[in-house]
Symmetry: D2
Subunit: 372 residues, 4 copies
């Protein structure tokens, strides 16, 4: 806690940068040595969050080209901190006089001013969505690490406003075919229509991102406060615009019954498995070997083109009309952020889980016989 720009213990991610400063970046410390890594690995993930990809995302043209400045040598991580930077190319001196002097509803303008006494008012400053560039760059490393252990993290849009994907139609390959990252072609089409309608009304919408972690070993999570689901919840709520988190059946479990919600154990060959997965892959805060499944709820984009009531910095009530293009929904671009934060969290907890058992530690240090 405290200095708030770092997350993780043995795999520690520190982001920095404002939307309209010189650059945005991240320092990733504690990545094990010997992981193959190059800038293209990072860029691939960054490209998934970058704007200008559709009419539903802001048209600002940003290269968002990442540069790795340290921690990689001859194509492999060295175990030392990996510093990554993305220059802000689009720093045109816009006219911020309007938003500098008042508090946009739904934004962090007021709270930053209250907390720090003043703020960098250019484009949201530190509370801008551009801060997530650092998260995604770090997430790319975590996903690469997890892939080397056959663990796969996949996030996708579950709903846009009231339009939700259907379990029956769900097909992960489909999410690349639409601009909303929905793994359901029909839902994507309906959601696009819904969005068009809301944009025409100068309004914005929210949605839900779902994430699945596949092939995670049992044993991750450190009771009683550093539970796997507790850290996933924190990671999700740390993303701007997220207002809710649930794992497995989540809020639906609160209206279910024990006889339904309990997942029966059974054997699959020599392996203990669960007949269902209402728990979402976590029991007692520790991964149980099933898929980890969770959801994050995003509020509607606060920047809307309609007039809003607010107050100025000097305490006068006023009407505000926000100019410029803004995403009518943050969800499609947030999908890769959710995936990144999940990968970062899981990587840290996986490394921590290595210290749980005496027998495994003795094996690790190749202690064959202890001297009497």
């Amino acid at each position: 806690m405290a200095a708030g720009s770092s997350i993780g213990t043995v795999f520690k991610v520190t982001t920095w940068g404002e939307s309209h400063g010189a650059a945005i970046g991240v320092v990733v410390d504690g990545c094990p040595a010997g992981l193959a890594l190059c800038e293209a690995d990072i860029q691939t993930l960054l490209d998934r969050r970058k704007p200008g990809q559709s009419k539903f995302t802001t048209q600002r043209k940003e290269g968002d080209q990442v540069e790795i400045l340290s921690g990689v040598f001859e194509g492999k991580t060295t175990g030392t901190p990996i510093s990554m930077i993305v220059r802000n190319l689009d720093q045109r001196s816009a006219d911020y006089s309007q938003i500098a002097g008042c508090y946009r509803p739904g934004h962090a303008d007021y709270t930053y001013d209250e907390k720090y006494g003043f703020r960098d008012y250019r484009g949201g400053g530190r509370s801008s969505a551009r801060e997530t560039i650092g998260r995604v760059a770090a997430g790319a490393i975590a996903e690469k690490f997890l892939a080397a252990l056959n663990i796969k993290v996949t996030a996708y849009t579950r709903s846009i406003g009231p339009v939700e994907i259907s379990g029956e139609r769900m097909d992960l390959k489909e999410m690349k075919n639409n601009r909303l990252c929905m793994p359901d072609a029909k839902a994507a089409e309906e959601a696009e229509q819904y969005l068009e309608q809301k944009m025409a009304q100068r309004d914005s919408v929210g949605g839900v991102v779902e994430c699945v972690i596949h092939n995670l070993p049992a044993g991750l999570g450190e009771p009683v406060f550093e539970k796997l689901d507790a850290n996933l919840a924190k990671a999700m709520l740390s993303i701007g615009a997220v207002k809710g988190f649930e794992i497995g059946d989540g809020f639906a479990a609160s209206v279910s019954c024990g006889s339904v919600n309990n997942d029966a154990f059974r054997m699959e060959g020599d392996t203990v498995v669960k007949a269902t997965n209402h728990s979402g892959g976590v029991l007692g805060g520790i991964s149980d070997g099933s898929d980890v499944i969770f959801r994050a709820a995003f509020k509607p984009t606060p920047s809307i083109a309609s007039p809003q009531n607010t107050v100025s910095k000097d305490g006068k009530e006023m009407e505000l009309v926000i100019h410029g293009r803004h995403d009518p929904v943050v969800v499609p671009r947030a999908v890769v952020v959710v995936e990144s934060m999940a990968a970062i969290t899981v990587m840290d907890m996986l490394l921590l889980s290595m210290t749980s058992r005496m027998d495994m530690i003795q094996l690790f240090f190749q202690v064959e016989e202890v001297e009497p």
Copy 2:
């Protein structure tokens, strides 16, 4: 992270103890010196979580008498760690042979075994609800601290299964009049009927706890990872049986529109206030001066009296019938745990927020003029 039994940075809480060990306890470090504190302050809160209070909670008779072992001198905290202990009186050598040898569905038996190689199988060990005694004892200190700053944390049962309180009928005083901690007499009555019915079916139910933090100053929360809501989410998901968290409108925000969800600012005398509170008192992860409102979703109690399919430790499929009395719903006893974890989280973040501003720091250290 890491060693998982501590939470907090400047106000740090470390719990310890298993349900059927010698005792349960907590060490509270970083409590400021000079706070009036006695055992009765702790006991009052502990008594709210203790079982045996109604037919809906287990009948095990436990005194749960807390003893303060350190950190308090002449009725005031000294700034040194406050160690508190509750002896486990009810350690009768029950027959645990059945649950020792198999994995109860919905419990953490299997994951503890996978993580640690074996487990203390007596009554759930560390994953038992008795672990929350330490949290509530620490929460009592945090609530006392917050009260000294006029900040009030209040949790209550929002729903039991499908039975939810009504906003119109809601009356906080009412929650002391029913055993379900519901601030709505009519809902409490309906919920009791629903519970009776489920108990007759040898089944269990879940529910939702809601919590309001009143009079919290603006400025708490450390972007971008140590946001106030992110830490509340982690604190809630760290409670056993919690499967979801939402702040303000939460998941409902995901189906709302910006024009509705944005809270307009307006003036109330010299003070900036919000016309509505869809955000739940947090903007950009920082408290905005409104009431902080959040909810935690609890799954149904996993221990049910009906037969369940599971597997034994040696890999045989089997049918399990759990004997003994168990709460058909954990929610009423969890209310004070939610309140405690909220108080602990808020106290830590409030102390951390003192270091945000240069002008306030100079004032604190009474620096009048800096030497050139």
Copy 3:
């Protein structure tokens, strides 16, 4: 940092308790599951620090019987926090009015009052040497863990005032034959004479404790801030009365030359070894496989029977004569504290070092082939 009563990351030790409170204790979190542990393991180490063993240590009769309250089941650690407690038997209501009202020179009375506004004035409160009971109880666990990996930590008295052990005569077995824990019979005799003389003068003396960690693998330490030697230095300076730390040649290295101070590498069979060990087993903050050797300098006991000038709490200059028996030297009882803090530090860094390398991690998780 922050709440200051915890140390360590994956192996975390939290001490609590004042000298004249109800009890003294410690919570040890993050100890791997499956380590054989019983109260006798702890008691053996505690008995090495307990007073009343010779005329050079205070005569206060304390049982200092440790009780393990959690984290151990059927003779093995469970991976959950291990809570240990020692009741303070000797809480006779002494007359503290004198020291309550003034600041003893060399003690922490004044600084506690300044920091916290008031203090527990009974026998030093939290700054008493009794606080080290918790450290030694935790150290006993760490030493047991390290022994299971064939790693041995040994501390001994290197000097009492000006009387130092001789490298030629040094014999570790000898330290059990004298009350000063000196591994040199002749030096011990001289030191006893020196002490007698200082006691007759109502004065006190200091000394140096040396510690050797044998069979530590190469690779412990996390550059650039969490270096092995940096954490050992912090651990030592955290012990009351320690005023200096050095590793390997330490301060002597500052007057040496590179041609002498550099340890040449050579082969011993297939193993890289060092021809000398001026570095004290650490290069670049990482263990190099040689013995780790360091020293901690202790100041003279501040409580002396001679009159001293000081001031009262209400700002009057006065003369103070401290009554009661006090150790004329803290070093012999501090030996086991140094050893414990070293073991705690090394255990934590050893667990952390498991996450350094990708190849070892893949081996640990038995990843044979990564899916394409």
Copy 4:
């Protein structure tokens, strides 16, 4: 601990970068908002550590121009992370084949290889002295912060090999007049002669840096593990080549007596002061209002021009002659590093100390009367 490139809790410093990578940098998180800061503030301190300043320091020409990339807006810190970067201009592709294949005595080559499986062998990689650029850049911010509270940190060379400054001749202004940063003209002259002689012998020397923190309020330090002196010790030992730390009389206290070593309290007007300062400004790990004085011992530069015995990576014994220019002593350039690490440590502990007392917290939050 853990990911080792961060230090501090509320004021957190994370360094990154290798000597021959693209750049070196640091992220400073938790700096309070509203501190006046510009690149020149940083550059002034950086220039004090940069090489090429005398014949005793390496001739490598480096601009070491710092760029602030975030966290500063309109000339003031914003409370968000301050990212600073220095490009490595001198990345000529030297021939590292010799040092790539063997282990330089006294360097971290062997331990990095053992820990990480391989290393960035170019110029020491992460263990290079260039890593301290990040520390000094952060230290510049900490010194600016402390200056705003009238606190002053000053480090200087106390000794070069056997040549020590004299207390009588000591004059802080003098340190700018010689290349060794010695506040004693005569000692500086003698030290230069000593150095010339050792350089002629193709050898290197060590030395001691002393640091004084003036005007520090009483009350900094969090017993029992986060003591002020414990954290200073860790900060110092985290600097490459430091082998010892002492505060106040340090090791000399171990041969002193209580009657001498105890600092008597007396009144100076209304203020409690100490008649002497053997303790070095710390009692019980908490600052006592006197000057904090400590020393760090540096070993001789490991890179010497004489032939040395070592082994190759493939396990063959060999003789190594290190080519190129190297500082014959690191001390003069390390002075500003010691000062920076002291400032970083003190700033963090000062911010933490704000949470110690209930009365001060109520004052901070302007709580006038608590509602009953």
